[in-house]
């Protein structure tokens, strides 16, 4: 029986820029930042209230994919194809205003839905996330 999810991968265009975005703009914490062979870095971050959930900031250029796949995947991420997840917050209006003030791009302003109030933002690569204050 599966009990919980501890790691999830986010494919990012530029790992250094993504680290800056997730920590300095979203306010996430670095859990691991480990240098690996070939100048690779294993970087995971977490939302401040969820230290057991590691988001792996994985650059698409890594040796995981073929050259063609890297190009295709980078294009898809950059044009905002992938919705990666949903983050929740205690006060969506304050969170929205703060992230906007820090330069985070929103594609949907806070809107009431049947489950709460939701907005949508993009990370610096193009991945999009729902930001919600649930009822």
């Amino acid at each position: 029986m599966i009990t919980q999810m501890t790691h999830v991968t986010i494919n990012v265009i530029d790992q250094k820029s993504a680290l800056d975005f997730y920590t300095n703009k979203l306010g996430f914490k670095v859990i691991t930042d480990v240098p690996m062979p070939n100048n690779d870095r294993w970087i995971t971050v977490c939302p401040p209230g969820q230290p057991g959930f590691e988001i792996i900031l994985s650059p698409i250029s890594r040796g995981l994919f073929s050259k063609e796949t890297v190009k295709a995947l980078q294009e898809l991420v950059e044009k905002g194809t992938f919705g990666v997840g949903l983050f929740t917050c205690k006060d969506i209006f304050a969170t929205y205003e703060e992230l906007k003030a820090k330069g985070v791009e929103f594609t949907k302003t806070p809107k009431k839905e049947f489950y709460g109030t939701e907005a949508i933002f993009k990370d610096d690569s193009g991945n999009w996330f729902s930001l919600a204050q649930l009822k």
Partner: protein
């Protein structure tokens, strides 16, 4: 609903500005008076609104930011006394006491712990990541 239509948008913007002011100026000798001035609120109205949104008073939030930044500097190996003043505390004993109360260990113990972890990372980096990922990336073979 546009952003202009949600309740009391101007209040939110002012409180958020005050929070960002703390985030940027935590290392300076700021207090609730400076922060509430930044938000153009009376002190008590400001404290009430800030706590409603962030669950902490501005002073509690300032302390938490200072301790968080202290943890980052200690992780970088900066000596405890330098960290204390770099994050805006004026007394080493009050810094150490608050740090221990919030983090659970003294700053010097935290510094040692972090340096030990760093040494382990250098010595055996693969023990810090799930094996399946290391294998897929080809890091295990090297």
């Amino acid at each position: 609903m546009t952003t202009e239509q949600y309740p009391k948008v101007y209040l939110y913007r002012r409180i958020v500005q005050a929070k960002l002011f703390i985030d940027s100026n935590y290392a300076k000798p700021i207090d609730v008076d400076n922060i509430s001035d930044e938000a153009y609120f009376s002190k008590f109205h400001f404290i009430r609104l800030f706590k409603k949104i962030y669950g902490k008073t501005p002073h509690q939030y300032l302390t938490s930011v200072r301790i968080e930044k202290a943890m980052l500097l200690l992780t970088d190996g900066i000596p405890v006394s330098d960290v204390c003043y770099a994050v805006g505390f004026e007394s080493l004993s009050s810094f150490s006491g608050l740090f221990k109360r919030i983090v659970g260990i003294t700053p010097s113990t935290y510094l040692l712990q972090q340096q030990t972890i760093k040494a382990q990372i250098v010595q055996s980096p693969l023990t810090f990541i799930p094996g399946c990922f290391a294998e897929k990336h080809g890091w295990k073979k090297k």
